[in-house]
């Protein structure tokens, strides 16, 4: 069939060559895009942060700064707003090395405790518990929010540490986080990891993050 047919459409060698070319072309394009993307998603430096230069993934010292998530008219989505005010984690500004080490501990703990098989991180993982992409900015942890009141702590980070160490003591719903034996040090690392993740430019995911929290406070439809 292959060799004698007049039509190229029934020629095996034509399709074999086409398959090889298309696969090769797609692979080369992917590799080229990978080089570009990796250079854009490398972690930034402390100097860039100090100068206000935006990076998609800022340096670990971003945990020394105040982080917000605001709607950007031009892009049509929410973007992280970093600084310029400082808001050091646990009230103590960390050097680039200290911040890097704390983030490293946090990322290791996140993997070792298998967070991703209940939660989603950047939207990837399991769907049994809330997405953690912008957990640092969740109103649940804010001043006057339920978690600080429940744990009896006066800051977001302290409340988070207390909860992560004893999640079984602070239930908010029937579905509860189990006690995973997280130590205080590990919990601090996790909080640094979460704060850093909230500073990543995720192209607006999740959209309209916790936009309705005002309803909870003022007695809207779902007010609790």
């Amino acid at each position: 069939m292959a060799e004698k047919k007049a039509s190229v459409w029934t020629s095996i060698s034509f399709w074999r060559r086409s398959a090889a070319w298309v696969t090769g072309f797609a692979t080369i394009l992917l590799i080229w895009l990978t080089f570009d993307t990796i250079s854009q998603i490398r972690m930034g430096t402390d100097e860039e942060l100090a100068k206000g230069i935006k990076r998609r993934i800022p340096a670990p010292t971003v945990i020394n700064y105040k982080i917000g998530y605001k709607y950007d008219e031009k892009r049509g989505l929410e973007v992280p707003v970093i600084g310029p005010e400082k808001n050091p984690l646990f009230g103590k500004e960390l050097s680039p090395k200290e911040a890097k080490n704390l983030l490293h501990l946090g990322k290791l703990t996140e993997q070792a405790k298998n967070c991703m098989d209940c939660h989603t991180l950047l939207g990837n993982g399991a769907y049994y518990a809330p997405d953690l992409t912008k957990a640092w900015l969740d109103p649940m942890w804010a001043k006057g929010g339920p978690m600080q009141a429940m744990t009896g702590k006066n800051s977001k980070e302290e409340a988070m540490v207390e909860f992560l160490m004893h999640p079984d003591k602070y239930p908010t719903h029937a579905r509860m986080m189990p006690n995973l034996g997280i130590t205080e040090k590990e919990a601090k690392g996790l909080v640094a990891f979460l704060k850093h993740m909230s500073s990543i430019d995720t192209n607006g995911f999740p959209r309209g993050f916790s936009k309705t929290i005002k309803d909870y406070e003022t007695g809207g439809t779902y007010a609790k």
């Binding site: 298309v22 998603i41 098989d117 209940c118 029937a174 997280i182």
Partner: protein, 479 residues
């Protein structure tokens, strides 16, 4: 299938090794379903096994058993077709191949036991190396990663050198080239980084380029081989189809990777690239569907013209291949396309929509054809001329397919509710999540998911009973 095979002396060593892989695959398939039932039940009764066998543990074993049973069945299928395609009965290093099987099985057993009994570790490198890597689908600790690489290298060398020594069919050429990509991609998932975006960038190279590229081509190869065996399809036709499928699958699937790079910190240009190429991903799946039905119709027409009765030499395999053709298109194609555009995905990303798609796609694209290959293996090692579908086999087909479709529909409804209430209406925070999870419609959908999970499991029991007995029964009726 688990009982001893009578005429084993006449069966090629490669096919015997294939059956060893199939046996472990079916056990792991059962483990996957059991873990799914536990995890599904925890959605309805959160206190069930709380702090004993938490959702994260059940879910981890659920998805890992899935990946590993499929890899086992894929290795088994390769060893099954190797003698027929190369004309060599005994792969060049069959002894080493058998040893690799036992090493891999021992390693899988240790990993599963550690997952079940140790579960999590402290935040140290040693946890990543010995307990749990904590990255969805790739939870296997690093020591096991390295072990898997060694075992897969042995398997690949066996296939490659046997191929080089024997006949070089088009099917086997695609198989050898594709397997190299499949095995090589695993390396992209074997490192640690503090940067979650870079972590997920490479993580998707493994996950996506497996299930939406190399695994799909693998399925195309299996379908080509099985159609020749089951309905005497003409080799020239299936091989031409196979090359067209490779062209379309890799042409869309490789850059379709972009649809995972919308929200993980990667640049915005992935929106367009991911949307365009992943929207094309269903095209080859339609083609594969058409191809199977076309060949079936053609060969049946041929058989009718010669008054030969049914063209199908293996009923259950043909049934599972047909379900594969349809399920792949529906589960991977349609359900994938549902939420692949960034305009939709910004709301659906990481919701029960994803779970719905995952269930139907893994079942439709992979579970079905791999079960078909198991039946083909039984037919070959028992030396059965024509294998008909038994009552148990039909029950398995009906209950498993109906069960998975039911779960998919239920999860789609749950996802729809979750997306509208949690994401669009309330904006994805902690309270938004639980408000949506606790709505009666969501709970109702999760209840139906669990019921349909039980239906699937009953179907699985029929499947195991059928696999255990069909060979013997057919052999005895022949005698």
């Amino acid at each position: 299938m688990l009982s001893s095979i009578k005429n084993s002396a006449a069966v090629s060593p490669s096919k015997q090794l294939a059956m060893m892989y199939f046996r472990v695959a079916i056990v792991l398939f059962g483990a996957q379903l059991l873990m799914g039932l536990i995890a599904g039940l925890q959605f309805l009764y959160p206190s069930f096994l709380y702090e004993i066998f938490d959702f994260s543990v059940a879910r981890m074993v659920h998805i890992n058993a899935l990946v590993v049973w499929m890899l086992y069945a894929m290795i088994g299928s390769t060893y099954l077709m190797l003698p027929d395609e190369t004309g060599i009965d005994k792969p060049v290093a069959i002894g080493l191949g058998k040893l690799a099987f036992w090493v891999l099985t021992a390693a899988v057993a240790v990993v599963v036991l550690v997952f079940i009994f140790i579960q999590v570790g402290p935040g140290k490198e040693s946890s990543i190396w010995f307990i749990n890597e904590g990255r969805e689908y790739l939870e296997a600790p690093r020591w096991a990663d390295i072990g898997i690489v060694v075992v897969v290298l042995i398997f690949y060398a066996n296939v490659f050198f046997t191929y080089m020594k024997g006949k070089k069919t088009g099917i086997m050429t695609v198989m050898v080239a594709n397997l190299m990509a499949l095995a090589g991609l695993y390396l992209a998932g074997m490192f640690f980084t503090d940067n979650i975006s870079i972590d997920q960038y490479w993580w998707w190279w493994v996950i996506h380029l497996w299930v939406e590229a190399t695994w799909e081509v693998f399925v195309g190869t299996l379908a080509a081989y099985a159609l020749i065996k089951v309905i005497d399809a003409k080799r020239e036709i299936v091989e031409m189809w196979l090359w067209i499928e490779v062209l379309m699958l890799f042409g869309s699937g490789i850059l379709g990777l972009g649809h995972h790079y919308f929200w993980i910190g990667t640049p915005e240009y992935w929106w367009e690239i991911g949307a365009l190429f992943s929207a094309l991903e269903p095209v080859p799946l339609v083609a594969m569907f058409v191809h199977v039905l076309y060949d079936w119709g053609k060969e049946q027409g041929h058989a009718d013209a010669h008054g030969k009765g049914s063209a199908i030499k293996n009923g259950p395999t043909m049934a599972w291949i047909t379900i594969n053709a349809f399920g792949n298109f529906l589960g991977a194609g349609i359900w994938g396309f549902f939420h692949t555009l960034p305009q939709v995905n910004i709301y659906t990303h990481g919701s029960q929509f994803t779970a719905a798609h995952g269930h139907l796609a893994f079942f439709g694209a992979y579970a079905t054809i791999l079960i078909g290959m198991m039946y083909l293996g039984i037919q070959q090692v028992y030396g059965i001329e024509r294998m008909k579908t038994t009552f148990k086999g039909k029950m398995a087909i009906f209950l498993i397919t109906f069960g998975v479709l039911g779960m998919t529909v239920a999860l789609t409804i749950a996802g729809y509710e979750q997306v509208l209430v949690e994401r669009a209406e309330l904006g994805a925070g902690w309270q938004a999540f639980f408000t949506a999870q606790n709505l009666p419609w969501y709970i109702q959908a999760q209840t139906w998911r669990e019921i349909m999970g039980v239906v699937t499991f009953v179907g699985f029991i029929y499947l195991v009973l059928d696999l255990l007995t069909i060979g013997k029964v057919a052999q005895e009726s022949k005698e």
